[in-house]
Structures are given as structure tokens and as C-alpha cells.
Amino acid sequence: MKLSALQPIRRANSFRSPSSAPLDGGAAPSDGPLFRSPTAIFWLLLHAICCLVSLALGFRFSRLLFLLLFSPSSSPSPPSPPVLLLHRRPDLPLSPHPPTPFATPNATGSRVVVGRHGILVRPWPHPNPTEVMRAQRILDCVQREQRLQYGVKNPRPLLVVTPTYPRTFQALHLTGLLHSLQLIPYPLTWLVVDAAGVGAASNETAALLARSRVPVLHIRFSGRMPLRWSDRHRTEARMRLQALRVIKERRLEGVVVFADDSNVHSMELFDEIQKVKWMGAVSVGIVAHSGNPGMVAPQQLSKEEEENSPVPVQGPACNSSGQLAGWHTFNSLPYVNKSATFIGDGAMVLPQKLEWAGFVLNSKLLWEEEEGKPDWVRNLDEVGVNGEEIESPLDLLKDASFVEPLGNCGKKVLLWWLRVEARYDSKFPAGWVIDPPLEIIVPAKRTPWPHAPPELPSGKVATSQDPLEKRSSKTGRSSRSRRSSRNKRKREPQIDTHI
């Protein structure tokens, strides 16, 4: 097969010398009866032997032999014997640098040889870590230069406002947000409003924030985070207002971003908000199905839910001339019966009509006695007092029509709103580290967690503190813990673990 594949390509090479013709396979000898002269028989036999050897070796042995025997010493060495060096030898240059074998009338001799070349593979064709780091540095340099030339000139510092409170998933969310903020190329200050209360819990947030490489302002909030989602939304609004008051008192300068700890932000968001003049709005994608996917099977979704856009988006709506014409808000009607009511409920968490995360403002809007401050914004001291509830930053304004739509007039979704919380009674060790390690680990036969909802509004679910039942923190769904308990059953002795 190989010979026949080689032949049509190679036939041109027979041009080089007339006496090579009898050795080329397939070139019929043009002379008369061969079987008479002994020399012809000899050549034929030699040809047959060469063919057999070629078949065995896998390349055109006859050519090689001919070249070695008949080529004069002064002529250049032939092009490489047609052997694929795939995966065998290290960089042996199989294409040597002789001049081209074709007699060109006026060429002085090219380094490039026509014909089959070996495929050069180095002995360890895998990435070298030093080189990967160097390439990374090159990429960083190139991107920095790009930002210098095409990015935002004179970037303003950012003031990131995050309400948080100690809970199972706080470490997860805050670390994620922390890493996002560390990637931002602009100077920023992170204002973390912490509804921790007193006790050991109040240091957990501080412990997480200690790892931060961005400057953090840890603001303690005097209330506790309530259990109902509706109350929680209101408390969060109050926490944010407190952060805004701090900004006003200290006259911090920059663009205020409301980054909730469980939201997902794209880096383009922070480039886009540099364009805001006074107050801007971006489109927020809502990932509302944060409930157990196993509980809401796809075929149970009603027709109208499927007809809705696959991901609801909140944000500014523009008219054809690019000016703010209205708002896209979240339509909560399809989900009314299935939404979560308290934190840690297994159902979907719904956002409010307009989430705080979709708005950014220039901190100078909050300062008092600031020249050039527009008159359509209320004084911050008057907001939130006397039991007034703030639902969205639009309540800070007297006139909402001056908000600037960002992100290509709201067509680009720059951040994703998400609320994921562990089950209300989940327990987790401080700092997510069990120290000292557990001595007894007992497999659970079935989920021990009761399905009865907790007492609302105040608090704690009573769970038994049986010392035999210490288990590492997992917010498992009932099916999952059952599965793991089945696996562990094979290894550990059976101990009944009822509650």
C-alpha cells in the first residue's frame, strides 16, 4: 500500500538520472525482449530483490541503494529516506541542508528540499511550567497595554457595598466575591456591613475578611438577620443605607456598587460602571431557580413558565433613541406558590421587583454640601427614618428619570443575581475547619433532619446535641445524604442514629 501511495508522487523524481528508470517500480522497460540478455535478467532479479526488501523495510530501498551506489561523491546527499520519525528520535534534523536535488538552471541552491520530511517531535512534548509562567507574564503585559490604550482613562475608585451575616454559606459567598474584587484593576474599597450580633459569630466575618488583599471597611450592623426572606430583603436595604451613611460621613469618593455576597459579577461590569455620571442602572440576570432541582421536575413546569424568557432579566428599558423609557422588572406571578418564605427553605428564592445590585451611583450624590450635585436626589439623612422602607435605590431619588442606562442600554447582562443558602438548621464549624479532628464518625442511616419548619419569626430550630451524632457540615439534600450513608454503611459498624 505504501509503495503504491508513494509512486504517483515520486514519479517525477525519476527525472534525475536516466539509468534510474529500470529501478523505479512501475516504469515499464521500454526495450525489447528482456528475457534474452543476461544483464537484463540480472537487473530484473536485482529489481525483484529490492522490491522485496522494500516491502519488508517499508520504504523505497531501491532508490536508496541506487543513490548510494551511483551518485558521485560531489553531488549532494539525497533527501531524507522516507522514514517517519514520529515519536521516536529527538530532534534529529531529517531534512538536511543540501541544495535542491533538482537541477535548476539559475538557482544558486536553496536550503529547502522538496520531498518527504520527517515529523520532528521532541522527547517530552508537554508544557514546561517556566515557559507557561513567562507566557502568562507576556499576556499580562499585553493586556495592561491594551487597557492603557483602549480602556478607561482616569478610572475612578470603586466603593463596593456588601451586606452579609454569618451563616453556613457565608464563607463560600464571601470568598467568591473577594476573589472577584481582587481581579478588578481599579482602586477600590470594600464596605462590608455585617449583621453578626454579639458572641463568637461576630468574629467569623472578620476572620474571612482578614484574607483580603483589597482594603476592607468592616461595618457592624446592630440588628440580626431575620429568617423570613421578605424581612431579610428589608434588613439588607437598611444595612446598605448604613454603608451609604458611612460614605457620606467620611466623604469617600468613587462609584458605589452594590455587590451582594452571593451574586456573580462579570469583570466587564466594573469597566462599564466607570462611565456613570451620577446614577446608572445595569441589567441583572436573575437565577431564581435556586431551589432543589430534583424537587421541581422539568415536566412540571407549566406552559407559561416555559414561554417566559429562559432567564428573567431586570434592568433599564430604552426607547429607540437610547434613552431610559422604563424598567424591566421581575414578574413573580408564575412562582407565587413555589417560592421560599424563610431562609434555608428548599424552594426558589425570588428577587424583588428591582434589585439593588443593578444600580450604581456616584458617591458625590450622597455627600452634603457638594457643588454640582443634581437636585433630583434626596438628602440621605431624610431617607430611612420614621420607619420608611427603602425597596430600591430609586427611593433615594426624587425623580427616577435621570438614571443612566449602562451596558449598551441594558442589552448586556453584566451580573447575575442569586440567593443560595444552606438549610436553616445546618451546622458548620467556625472557619469551616474541624479542629481537633473528630474521633467518632457515625454514618447516618437516613436523614435525621426533621421536615417540620422552624418557628417563625424568632429563631432557632431545636436540634438534639447528641455527642454521638457529630457530623461534619454538609448541607445535603435528603437524597444525597441517604446515598452517602448507604456507602458508608459497608465500612462502619451499625449504630442506630435516630433523633
Binding site: P82, H87, V112, H117, Q149
Partner: protein
């Protein structure tokens, strides 16, 4: 009085000095840099007024009818010959008086005989060219005057005027004998190769400018891909064992770097091909069956530094564009060390190359826009022709002298077309 004059002179001198420094400093901070090749700063030269071109009127069987038979010729990478004809017809360098012309152009579309797949077959091209030359030599006296030394032809096929797609056959045929004295405008360029004669003008292959413009992304999108390439590594149909196609260089790239996270290389052709090139720092431009490829044009237009892997290649407009400063050249034997070579380039050099590529005159010189714009590839060809003027006295034959042998070449070429 004299002292005052000296002071004034000194002041003027100093102000000029500071001005010069200021201008240079301003240039350093700019996004682009001026391009000066070995012929000088010639990318922005205007050829109008420097030469005159006479376009022969050939019967439409040489051009229009061929194009009518297959309109795909307008979009494939050999379309330069058709667009050059159209450009010259309406260009100010065209003259209707052949006596005052410096250059003569023969509009014959030799690369328009396409297979169903769209690849041009060169088997009839030599006969077509020969027939066209016979026509112009009998109907006009200008061919016989110089035997073609002041004529130019656009031959954008794989190996130029050798008229074959296989390199060995092309070398065997050599350049068509009748074109021995003419100037060839071709895409193929390799040093010390039969199919590149001295004095040829190398041009970029045709790439559709509107299609590329339609896929531009904002320039502040960070370049996060280190090396990018999309194309074949093994041509299984024509070279099943490998080693022939691309002289084994593409296969070597695949075998060495398929597991390397810095190299985004594959044979899949995505819809975001142009967008991805704009997000890459280096774009590989290895040779294929012929050393040139439209990837060079795409890399230049999208600001991606071309990494040329083709020994002895002659790049387009090599005297006007300093390719050594713009691209990276890697010898075929050094392909296994490609990652080491690319990561060891100092960052200032890389930034400078990107600034040179960002120069709009660089991008313009690689394109064939319709209608023609100043500084584009058409104008660079005319500039190249203008730089070859005036013709030296050997171009014009004495009466009765004949150099070309009209019966030279393979027998099959002599058949009429």
C-alpha cells in the same frame, strides 16, 4: 547687533532641537508606529503620476466569459487577478494611448477554472496564457518591441507562473517560457526557487475585506489566547502518511503542542474564527502545500502577531514592509522549540510589533477593497511597478533581435486554447 543675531540663531536651533525630541517622544506614546521597509517609507506613496499603464482589450473569452461561467472566482483567495483588472480599468494611472504607457497589462483570468470543490485547475492555464500572448503580439506591436519586458501579468496561483499545484511538477515545468522577460505579480514567493523570478512582485492572497470588517470586536477586549491556529495538520486525502504536506512542519506543531494550554490549535473551523484571532497574541502561519496562506493577511488585519513557519519564504511587498520587525520567523527545524522561542521574546519587542501592526496603513496594504482606497494592495502593486521604472536599455530589443523561443516548453502547452 551681532551678538543679538547669534543669540537669535542659538535660540532657533535650540527650539528646533526640542521640537524634534518632542515629536519623537509623542510618537513613542502613540498606539501605532511608522512602517519603513528597505525601500523606505513607501507604504503611503501615491502612484498616480509616476507611471502609466495600458490595458489590452482582450476578447471576453479570456476574462468576462470565464467569470460568467463560475462566479466563485470573485470570492476565493485567487480573486486578485480579477479585481486588479477592474481596478486598472477605472484608475487614473490607466492611459488609453499605448505610446505613452510605461507598463502593459493583459487581463487574462488563468485561475478561474474551478473544480466542484472550488479549487482551481491549472492544466489549461499555460495554453490560455500562451494564446493571450499570441493575440497581443499579433494585434499590437508593443510585445514584439520588448518581448514582454514592459508587460506585467497577475498570476496568483499556488506556484505562480509554473502553473501547477504540486511543487515537484511545478518545478519541473518552470515558469512559462514566454513570460521569461515579463514582470510577474504573484502570491508565491520563496527564495532561490524556480517559480520566483527576479523582479517579481509578491502580493498577499485575496481576503474579503467586508467579511473581516463585519467581525471586528472592541479593541479593549483583552488578548487572552497566547497562540492561535485553525487548519489542517495532516492532509489525509493527498498525503496519508504525513511528512509531505507542509514538509512535516504542521504535523510537528500538532504532535508537539496538542497538549499545551498556551496553544489553541485545532482543525475545527469555528464561526468565531475572526473574533478569536483578535483575542490572540500570536497567530501561526505555517506553510501548507505552498508557503503562502491567507492567514498572514488575517493576522495583520486583526492585530495578531504572525508566526511564519516557512523556510525562505518571500512575504508580500517585501521591499515596502519590514516583515522581520512585524512578524516572528521560525525555521521549520525549530518547530519543536516553538514554545520556548515565543515565550522568550522580550515584552517590549512584542508591544512594538503590536504597535506596528496597529498602523492602519499596514492593514490597508494587505487588502483589496472594492472600490480601491489609497494605500491598499492595488496601490502597493503600482508603487512596486513604479519603483522598477525606468526600464533599462536591455528591455528594448534592437530590430530583428529575438530572444524568446515560441516553441519552448512541454508539448501539451503548444496546443491552441
Amino acid at each position: 547687533m551681532e551678538a543679538k543675531m547669534w543669540i537669535l540663531a542659538l535660540f532657533l536651533l535650540l527650539s528646533l532641537l526640542f521640537d524634534g525630541i518632542g515629536v519623537r517622544a509623542a510618537e513613542l506614546n502613540r498606539k501605532t508606529e511608522r512602517i519603513s521597509g528597505s525601500a523606505g517609507d513607501v507604504l503611503e506613496d501615491d502612484p498616480v503620476g509616476r507611471l502609466k499603464v495600458f490595458v489590452y482589450e482582450l476578447p471576453s473569452k479570456y476574462n468576462k466569459k470565464i467569470l460568467q461561467k463560475d462566479p466563485r472566482c470573485l470570492t476565493h483567495m485567487f480573486a486578485a487577478e480579477i479585481f486588479m483588472h477592474r481596478f486598472l480599468l477605472s484608475s487614473p494611472v490607466r492611459t488609453l494611448n499605448p505610446e505613452e504607457a510605461d507598463w502593459f497589462y493583459t487581463p487574462v483570468y488563468t485561475t478561474c477554472d474551478l473544480t466542484p470543490n472550488g479549487l482551481p485547475l491549472p492544466f489549461k492555464s499555460p495554453r490560455m496564457m500562451r494564446s493571450a500572448i499570441q493575440l497581443i503580439s499579433t494585434n499590437w506591436p508593443y510585445w514584439n518591441r520588448t518581448e514582454g519586458a514592459d508587460h506585467f501579468f497577475v498570476v496568483p496561483h499556488d506556484f505562480g507562473a509554473c502553473f501547477h499545484y504540486q511543487e515537484e511538477k511545478a518545478i519541473e515545468r518552470g515558469i512559462l517560457h514566454l513570460l521569461k522577460r515579463a514582470t510577474l505579480v504573484q502570491t508565491f514567493g520563496q527564495r532561490n526557487h524556480v517559480c520566483l523570478k527576479d523582479g517579481s512582485i509578491t502580493i498577499p492572497p485575496y481576503a474579503p475585506p467586508q467579511k473581516m470588517q463585519a467581525h471586528l470586536i472592541p479593541p479593549d477586549t483583552p488578548r487572552s489566547i497566547f497562540v492561535y491556529f485553525r487548519g489542517l495538520f495532516y492532509d489525509v486525502g493527498n498525503d496519508p502518511e504525513g511528512g509531505y504536506y507542509a514538509r512535516g512542519a504542521r504535523a510537528s506543531v500538532w504532535e508537539n503542542f496538542k497538549n499545551n494550554p498556551l496553544f489553541d490549535i485545532s482543525t475545527e473551523h469555528p464561526t468565531t474564527y475572526y473574533e478569536d484571532m483578535q483575542r490572540a497574541v500570536f497567530c501561526l502561519c505555517p506553510l501548507g502545500w505552498a508557503p503562502w496562506s491567507p492567514r498572514l493577511v488575517e493576522a495583520v488585519v486583526f492585530g495578531c502577531i504572525p508566526v511564519v513557519i516557512a523556510d525562505d519564504i518571500v512575504l508580500p511587498f517585501a521591499d515596502a514592509i519590514p516583515w522581520e520587525e512585524i512578524g516572528v520567523f521560525v525555521a521549520e527545524k525549530d518547530v519543536p522549540k516553538l514554545d520556548a522561542i515565543l515565550t522568550s521574546i522580550p515584552t517590549e519587542v512584542i508591544l512594538r510589533k503590536q504597535r506596528l501592526l496597529a498602523n492602519p496603513s499596514m492593514k490597508q496594504a494587505m487588502l483589496f477593497p472594492q472600490p480601491a482606497q489609497p494605500g491598499d494592495a492595488f496601490h502597493q502593486i503600482l508603487n512596486g511597478l513604479a519603483r522598477k521604472l525606468p526600464h533599462d536599455e536591455k528591455a528594448f530589443l534592437k530590430p530583428g533581435e529575438q530572444i524568446l523561443n515560441w516553441t519552448a516548453g512541454p508539448v501539451g502547452d503548444l496546443k491552441p486554447w
